[in-house]
């Protein structure tokens, strides 16, 4: 037998099929249909990917084009002006930029703290073991129905938290106005009375303001942080947990020294995503932030955000204002883009550091 039977001279070689089946063989070259499906599928994927990119480019371009006249007219002064007064013809969005970043960052801190804590609670079986202990006390922990309860309840709680993300933001806004503001007002009042010298409490809460907006925004972004962090925590390999426990680490030591750092990339991804959502959130903020162009560290002062500015001014905008609003939209887009790129960069660095 020749070692190079495929290179037999004299036989015509079909393009694309260097060898054919012998009689009685199960192995076959892919059929024309298989090939066609493969090629079509690949082309469709390409097309959809490019279409998305084109769409994003198109949107950005259209906004930039509509904003161009306003940009020529206002220049950079638009970004540093603090007054938006259509009657006086003065337009500046520094207060809105400040309000956007201030509310988003505060909400991110609050939402991350609670979101990651909830994710740890859900992923490390705290709830499960508590319920298991309870069942054991009643002696039904091995019962075929009751025994499944710990896992079931953990799952239900996880779904409940994810459900928070499904609540429409206008509902959040209403809830903020009618529940959160009355609830926190006495506390804010007391803080302002007794600790008014701290810049954070330097004004009184008279209704809508930064704090209610931040609280509601934090609740809105928490499910994102929790869901993504939980997935990241759950996918930390069991063998790493065992390694930590096997060395005599307590539960908290293994969570803080091993599990959270190992999952940090996924958690950071969740935080970036949540930040993007916070920056662009419109409805709840327009209802809660006070829509007043102030630059103030105080948590109780009203403020404004770019998204709220757009939402509030669109209805009565003439052609000139539309241009100005487009300019503001472009700025918001730019901020979001920068945040996302920075997030991607941080994630990449983290991945590289972990592997080296």
């Amino acid at each position: 037998m020749s070692a190079h039977s495929s290179a037999q001279p004299g036989l015509p070689v079909l393009p694309g099929a260097l060898f054919g089946s012998r009689q009685g063989e199960i192995t076959q070259v892919p059929s024309p249909l298989q090939r066609a499906v493969d090629v079509t599928f690949r082309r469709l994927c390409h097309a959809f990917a490019w279409f998305t990119i084109l769409l994003v480019t198109f949107i950005v371009l259209r906004i930039a084009m509509s904003a161009a006249p306003a940009m020529r007219e206002q220049g950079w002064g638009f970004l540093t002006g603090r007054v938006w007064d259509a009657n006086a013809g003065q337009f500046g969005i520094l207060a809105q930029i400040w309000g956007t970043l201030y509310t988003s960052i505060l909400a991110l801190i609050l939402g991350t703290a609670f979101g990651v804590a909830a994710a740890v609670f859900l992923s490390e079986g705290f709830l499960g073991s508590t319920i298991f202990g309870l069942l054991k006390y009643f002696g039904v922990h091995l019962h075929p129905w009751w025994g499944r309860l710990p896992d079931q309840i953990e799952r239900i709680l996880k779904e409940l938290i994810e459900l928070l993300a499904a609540i429409p933001s206008v509902v959040y806004g209403l809830w903020g106005i009618f529940v959160v503001i009355p609830l926190i007002r006495p506390l804010c009042h007391a803080l302002h009375e007794h600790a008014g010298w701290i810049p954070l409490f330097s004004t009184d809460l008279s209704g809508p303001g930064v704090l209610p907006a931040v609280i509601v925004l934090a609740i809105m972004i928490m499910p994102t942080v929790t869901a993504i962090s939980r997935d990241a925590l759950v996918s930390v390999p069991v063998k790493l947990r065992m390694a930590a426990y096997g060395l005599g680490a307590t539960r908290w030591e293994s969570i803080f020294a091993v599990i959270l750092p190992t999952a940090s990339r996924g958690i950071a991804g969740g935080i970036v995503l949540a930040f993007g959502r916070a920056l662009g959130e419109t409805m709840a903020l327009a209802m809660l932030v006070g829509n007043s162009n102030q630059i103030n560290l105080s948590l109780f002062s009203p403020a404004n955000t770019l998204a709220a500015l757009l939402a509030n001014n669109f209805p009565e905008a003439g052609p000139r204002e539309v241009g100005l609003l487009m300019y503001a939209a472009l700025v918001l887009l730019g901020i979001t883009l920068v945040v996302n790129i920075m997030g991607a960069f941080i994630l990449q660095r983290a991945a590289k550091n972990a592997a080296e």
């Binding site: 390694a243 930590a244 096997g246 060395l247 005599g248 750092p261 550091n353 592997a355």
Partner: protein, 277 residues
């Protein structure tokens, strides 16, 4: 402290009888459950100071379970229940009031899959030192642990590199270094070579015979040659699935040479002759 360990009531089975004061741990499992499932019964094994004790047996017979019992790793399994005693330093580690976390610090563990943390080699080895609040020269301890694990020469120039950047065999030696850095009295190893190639396996085996001088080692292995090569004592566990049973138990415990050359029980004989695995 080991001198105060009382011998547990001897089994009906012949048990190698090293002098009592040489026994670091005495594991006496009467019954062990995972939920409703009885995984192991009637297994009593003395673990002698500065020796290597191996557990062999067909898969699923509870070797890992017995080993994890020795440092209370099974406590992490929801529904785990244990009847029996594990004597260590004059006490039963399952006594109420004994902290499993403390037990695991005195009785270290190396796992089947190399499991370095996603951090630098140095931090991996220093992890246990930090847990134990070690105040001395960490770098010196890390170095001596890495030397002890025969890894120092290979990593001394890249201690800041990730532990995950090493090869499988190196990762396993890193895990050994991490476990011995705090100088625990006993080292448990659950099939430490089964994820490694023959050369890396050989290295770890040499390492174990070396470590025996300083530590007491209990190892699970499915490799009979390995048990013969490195272990001083060997216990054979068995589960008779043909009879519908699923509960493992200790069949025979002896000095390795004796167990392999002259097994007393039918199951041991068959297993060593390779009639089932």
């Amino acid at each position: 402290m080991a001198a105060s360990v009382q011998p547990i009531e001897p089994n009906s089975r012949p048990v190698a009888s090293p002098h009592d004061h040489d026994i670091v741990m005495h594991c006496d499992i009467r019954e062990l459950f995972y939920g409703n499932f009885k995984a192991v019964r009637d297994t009593s094994i003395p673990i002698k100071k500065n020796s290597i004790t191996a557990f062999i047996g067909p898969s699923g017979c509870g070797k890992s379970t017995v080993l994890r019992c020795l440092n209370r790793m099974n406590d992490l399994v929801r529904g785990f229940r244990f009847e029996g005693k594990v004597r260590f330093r004059g006490r039963d580690i399952y006594e109420t009031g004994i902290d499993p976390v403390a037990v695991r610090r005195f009785i270290g563990m190396v796992f089947q899959q190399p499991n370095p943390f996603a951090t630098s080699i140095f931090n991996n080895v220093a992890f246990g030192l930090r847990l134990n609040g070690y105040k001395g020269d960490k770098a010196a301890k890390v170095e001596s642990a890495l030397r002890g694990a025969a890894l120092w020469d290979e990593v001394k120039d890249k201690l800041h590199k990730s532990g995950l950047s090493l090869s499988g065999g190196q990762q396993q030696r890193l895990c050994i270094a991490r476990a011995i850095a705090t100088e625990p009295e006993v080292l448990l190893m659950d099939e430490p070579c089964s994820a490694l190639d023959p050369i890396a396996t050989r290295k770890i085996e040499e390492l174990m015979t070396d470590l025996r001088k300083k530590f007491t080692i209990a190892i699970v292995t499915h490799n009979l040659q390995q048990a013969q090569r490195v272990a001083d004592y060997t216990g054979f566990l068995y589960v008779d699935t043909s009879m519908g049973g699923r509960t493992g138990y200790l069949v025979e415990f002896e000095q390795s040479r004796k167990l392999f050359e002259d097994p007393q029980h039918k199951h041991t004989k068959e297993y060593i002759r390779g009639e089932f695995s």
